[in-house]
Each structure stands twice: as structure tokens, then as C-alpha cells.
Amino acid sequence: MAGWRQLLRGCRALLRRSDAERDIADEVQHYLDEAAAAHRARGLGDDEARRAARIEIGGVTGVNEQVRGFGWENAVRGLLGDLRYAARGLRAAPGFTAVTVITLALGIGATTAIFSAIYPILIQPLPYPDGHRIATIWELSADGQRMDGSYGMFHAMAERTHAFQSLAVFKPWLPTMTGSDQPERLTGQRVTSEYFRVLGVAPALGRDFLADDDRPQGPRVVILGDRLWRRRFAADPSIIGRDITLSDTQYTVIGVMPARFENVLGPEAEIWGPMQYGLSEGRTWGHHLRTVGRLRDGSSMAQAAREAATLGPAILTDQRPETYAANAAFTAVALRDDVTGAVKPALIAVLIAVTLVLLIACVNVTNLLLARGVHRRGELALRAALGAGKGRLIRQLLTESVLLSVLGGLAGMVVAWFGLRALHALSPADLPRAHAIAFNPAVFAFGLALTTVLGLAVGTIPALHAARSDPHDALQHGSNRSTGTHGRIRASLVVAEVALALVLLVGSGLLMRSLQKLFAVPAGFEASHLLTMQVQTAGQRFNADGATVQFFTQVLDAVRRVPGVTTVALTSQLPMSGDDSEYGLRLDGSQDGYSTFRYAVTPGYVETMGIPLLYGRSLDERDRAGSPPVALVNESLAKSKFGGRDAIGQRVHIGPTDRPPYTIVGVVGDVRQMSLTLGPPDAVYTTASQWIFTDPVMSLVVRGQGNVASLAPAIRAAIWSVDKDQPVVRIATMDDLLAASAAERRYALILFETFAIVALALAAAGIYGVIAGRVAERTREIGVRAALGATSGSILRLVLGEGFALTACGIGIGVAASAAAGRGMAALLFNVSPLDPVTHASVLMLLLVVAAVACAVPAWRAVRVDPATTLRSE
């Protein structure tokens, strides 16, 4: 109750200030009158009585102040006063305010945006219960590359494992939903029954897969993703139990996943069906599935990795099929590392870069506030002389800094918001968990806390400075003289700023050089004028023998007739598209297995792509089903597996070994399959008709004239003229695919460049500020020098010399720092040494030029100092 009273009275005093003050004044006046009356009663005269009363009270104003100073509202009033005063001060110095607020906004905004983006990827736990207990299991090839696992291995491991509570395998599934105007190809996954239980997420509607769903010839059931359910079925809850048509087959919907379900193992997947594999099928031991598992309580990730490493080979000893390589190794890694591992170095580098920007911003703001402190020494000294206490002065200056920080923080939030949108727009397609990036409240709080702490930290320095200096001394000396320590602090801040900017500039320079070199890497084919798209067959009409082959043949014929098309071919996997189809390669008569990219192509593929034929012959119409199986190999395979001997005429098994081997008839140039950075791996090419099965999904490559992208609609129409129910997806020119494969580096580069430009601008502002301040402080000295006969040249040297000395110091420290930082960036660099001399030299030149420009204006001002004026003003 007393608390309420406190609050109410306080608020009343605040809101109706004049009333409250009049009450106090009246009460004091009444007291005075009564006291005077008492004196009069003792026989004093009127005037004397009043004087005696006033003496007794000790000054009406003082008492008024004392009484008014009581209560919490008074502190609020003081703060408001401080704020008003600070706001007035900032308005009076618009240049200083604007530069400071912008500096803070850039620093805080960039940091907030980057932290928002990185938080879900690197920091936030995966969106699964006990997400850290989920692991992926990998098979490692002889050269340590991760390979997909097999159903047979998964099944055996699931029976024998102790470290895992449950295991699941999954593979992509691309069913076509027909029935509406245009066929829609859905992205989904075929999973074993434990999949969702491994992730720890249950359907929001209906039921999860059961073991009984997941057997050969099991029921045709699917679980829908929330997005698909809303898009195609209007979020109708009665969908459970209904049939839908996928690729001409009826499936029963048994469940719908919750909206918040995030599938990091297949972010695009929106429909799931059971795997329904048996143990006696050809594909049982084929490497085409990914394995994921949930750790049993009490077992660690390290235990799981050890178990996988021993259990895998043990299983192979017991039941290794003919086709399985004997030298396979196994491991388990945390799902989180698996998902984010590839982008982690880039993100950490970006994080470091943005931290540097923030540091530079802090240094700059400190410098600005220090400079302002110098200008205000007179004012502060006057206030101290008039009786303002140290604490009062510090409080006032801190209020001003916090006000600046809050302004900067608010502007920074705007920067962060736009920054996040830019990050979204720029982010490479394969950035994991990209859609989880959002302006999150935690980061907002982080940004605000940062602003306040920054304001307090930065504000303290000038406040302490001002409070420490002797008002008497300061008043006597006027306002614009430098003090030694003051100048040194600011000079060292500039040195720090230059050093930090150099680190950022070198970093972005190295990235730029990497990207240059990356695009100079030959892809192994003629990328320009190539249009690609994925065509597939789906539905029961293709179950008939040869129907798929016939469809693809007709598609080739139809596309060939499109005006503007020069040549056209199909391939089972397309370079740079993310396709990754690898098979075991075994030399005839040997036991050793190698992993190799396998391309099932139509004749003319090598020619359409522009892959050079080095030896032998290419594939052509003679190589059809029934004729002797032949293959092309790439140069690196020919060199590594056949030593110096000519590969042509050698016989190899690709995939299963129980079929006649392929005879190598030609050697073609290396092609980069996964990205420009990964070295050329082994590759084999066979004709689609001689491959062990018919791929239902093929990529069409079209070489045309002029702008090939404009051919896309005509080509699609040609395909649909063959069968209007077959989806055509992933339409892209090869140039686009190449650019996308470097997207991650480009992303890092754009961010680095932005940060580096900001850093450079801030450093330039810092150098300018300090040198301009120094010239202003030394006007008198320069005037005396000029009067004593110093030439313009020597004065110029004096000013520029100081600027360059600071810059040189910063460069020295920066070079050492960037050498250390460069090693951390190594993972992002491509064919560029972290100590690359070209980059360093150009950055040094750039910094020197910027320093010269920053010093030019103050130097010019110094030269124009009129000795007569300065001396007279003394």
C-alpha cells in the first residue's frame, strides 16, 4: 500500500509539477511567516522579526530545494533534464552527431544482421528434441571420401548396434502429382520406418510410419509436409485416409507433419513414403542411401563413431557381397556438424570480419567523443567551477553517450533489418537452415545491450578525462589546447583503426583473388550456349518394356527440331547441378574397388558438352543394348588406374560384377562434377542403352545459338508434345550453374567487400578527425613556425608526416595481424596464399592513398594559417 502511495505521489509530482512545487513553496512560506510571528510575539519589530526568522530557517530557496529534492521522481526529473541537455548539445553539433550515429548504426547493424544469420546455423541447437544426440553414419572410400551407405549395411547395423537407439536410411524421391493442369513434380523422401522417430518429431495429424508399412510390397502410404498439405489440399484435416495419385499410382495419406517440422536432411522434401526394401534385391547393397541414427541414452558421439568403425567391417567380414569393396571404412558424425560443416569456415570468417567492423566503429566513436571532449573542456571547466560535482559531470556525459548509443542502436536496427533482407537475397541456395534465418528477439536484445554497454564504455573515457582535469587550469588555458596523453590515446586509436581496416581489406582482397582464380579453372567443357533441364518419366505407362527409352528418344527428336537448337543429348547426371551418382569401379580380374562418377548418356553427349576426346573413339549409335558394352573414361582415371599404359582396350566392371565388363574405347578430358574447387575425380561414360538399368530421370543438355535461355519455353513445349504429363524442372543455363557453384565464396566475398569498404571509410574518417584535430590544436604553433620563416612545404611535411606516421604504424601492426588471421581463412581461399604479395601490395597502396586524401584537407588548412592572425589572437 505504501508502495502505491509512493508511486502515485511521485507520478503526481512529475505530471503536475507546478502544483507540487507550489505546495512546497506555500508550506515553506507558511513556516517562515509563523516563525516571524513567533519572534514578533517575543517583542521584535516587523522587519527584525522577519530577518530573524529568515536567519533561523537559513534561506527560503535552500529549504525549497532541499524539500523538492526528495522522492524517486526527483531522480527521474534529473535524468530528463540531463537528456534534454544532451539532446540540445547533440543538436548543436549535427556533424558530430550524424557521423557518430552512422558509425554506430553500421557497426551495430552489421553485427546484429550477421549474428541473426549465423545464430540458427552455428549456435542454435537443431530443431529436434535432444538434437545433439542425432548422428549420421558414413561409409568412407579408400581415399577418405564420404560415400552413401547401403540398405544391407543399415539393416545389419540396426540389428547389432549398441550405441544407437534407432537407425534409419533415406533417399530422395521425386514423385509426380498428376491430375491438375500441369504435372507437378514433388520433392520428397523415401525413408525407413524409424526416420521420424530418429529425428524425434511426430506427425501433427494421423500416424507415423510403422514397421509394417516398410516391407516389400507393403501398403502404398504417404505422409505429407505441412506446406504441401496447405498448398494442394487447403489444409483439409479429412485428408487422412484419403487416396492421392502420384505417378499414376494411388497412395493413402496417413499423416501430416507439423508446420514447425524442419527437415535438415532434405530441406525441400514435402512428402514421405516408406522405403519398402527387401534384403534379396539387387539394390540392397548399392551405395545410394544416407544413414542417420539417434544415440542411445548414455552413449556418446565418440562411442558411436568407434562402434560404426568396428561394426561396419565386422558386418562385411560376415556377409560381404561380391560387389562390395573390401576396404570400406565407417564413421559417425554429429548431424549438426554434418549439416553446417561445409559453410562453417565461411561463416566464422564473416563473423570475424563483422566483429572487426564493430571494433573499428567503437574505436571511431571513442575518437569522436574524445575529440568532442577536447572542444568542450572550456564548457566543462566552467560547469565545474560553478559547482558541478565530478559525479554530476560524469553522469551528464554518460547520459549523452548513452543517448548517442541508443540513437545509433535504433538506426542500427534499421540497418540490421535491411541487412538481413540483403543476406536472404544473396545467400547461396545450399546454405543450410537458410529459411530459419530471421530477425530474432534474442539478437535484438543483443543489439540493444551492445549499444548501451558501448555507450557506457565509450562515454566513460571523455567523462573521466573532463572530471580529472583541474577546472582552474582548464579555464586559464582556453579551450583548444591539446594535452599529451589525450593526443597519444587518440593517435593509438587511429593506429588500431588502420590495422583493423587492413586486416579486413587483405581478407577481402584474398577472397577476390580466390574467386578470380576459381573462375579461371577450366570446367572441362564449353559452358557457354548450353541450356540444361531435367526430364523424367513417371507413371504406370512407363512400366512397359522400353516405354521409358522410347519416351526419351522421342524427346530428343522433338527437341532437335526446335529452331535455334544445334545439338542435344541426355545424361543421367549433369556437372555442377548437385547431381552425385557414383558407382564402384573394379578392374576386370582385380578385387580393389574405387568410387567413380557414372554418366549414362545418349550418343553425342560428349560432343554437345564440348568435352575433348583425347584418345580412341567416342560413343555412338553402334553402342546400343545387345552390342558389346563399351565405356569412355576420363583422363585422370586413365592415368591413375592404368599407370602409363594405354587405357583403351582395358575392361572394367561398373557397379555389379556379375555382368560382362565394359571395354574402354576412348579417353575424354576431365570434367568438374561437383564444383570448380574439387579436383577432377574419376569418371566413366556409357550409353544409356548399355547401362544396367534405365534411369527414369535424365538431364537434357542443349547447345544452341544466341541466347539459349530464351529457347526454354519452346523446348519445354516440344517435350510436352511427346507426353504432357511429364514434368520438366531445373531449367538453367550452364553459366548459371557454374556461378551457383561458386555462390558460397561469392557470398563471403560480397560480405567481406562490404565490411572492408565500411572499415576503410571509418578508418579514413578516423585519420581525418585526428589530423584535423591536431592541426586545430597546433594552429598557434604553426603560425609561429610560419612567422619564423617555415615554408609551405615544411608545414605540409609536418602535417602529412604525422598522418603517414600513424598510418605506417597501423599498417605494420595490421600486416602482422592479417598474417595470423589469414591462416584461419585458408579454408576459404583457392590457389591463393594467405600472404599473397599482390593482395598485400595493393591494399597498402590503397590505404596510403586513403590516408593521403584524409590528411589533405587538414594539411591544406595548415598551410593557409595566417601567422599575423594567430599571433594577434594570442
Binding site: 508550506e27 537559513g58 529549504v63
Partner: protein, 111 residues
Amino acid sequence: MAPDSTDVIQGTLDLLILKTLSLQPLHGFGIARRIEQVSRGVFKVNPGSLLTALQRLERAGWLDAEWRQTENARRARFYTLTRAGRKQLESEEADWARRAGAVTRLLKADA
């Protein structure tokens, strides 16, 4: 000012105000004069401290304040002890008695 008058003992001003008001409602000057008279001029109340203390006690809910006419037809702020104030007075009186007794015992023991 009597030469032997002193400021009110630190921390006892609240107690003295509450005690004074427990007899009858008074305005600020009235309280000061009553304290001086009853203490026979030993205690001298500083007006600033007194008025501030009145504000504080009023905020705490121990006093009610009200503008009223005095007998010589002037407007004055009169203070009345509330029920909570009476309780506070009892506890402060007990506390004071305990402490004063302790001090007295200590002084006697010394002699």
C-alpha cells in the same frame, strides 16, 4: 537561538514527529515549536530536514496531509497521524527505549 540547543539526534526526528502528532494534528512550524518547547530548547529542528521528513513520512503512509485554515485564518498544511503511523510510533518507541536503556547501562557500568 539558545546557546545550548543542538540539532535533533540523528535518526530520532521521525520518532519525535510521530510522537508530537500522536497528541494532535499540527502544521510544520507547530511541530518544530512543540519539539523545542517540550525538550526545553535542547533540540532545535532544522526546517529543511523537518519538511523533507514530513514528505517522506507522508509518502510512507504514516501521516495524512491536508490544507486547512489556521486559527488566525491562514492556509496551512496540517499533518495527522494515520493508523499505520501509530503502529510505527509504537515500534519506534519500543526500539528507542531499548537502545536508550542500553546506552544508559553502558554509561553507568563505566562509572
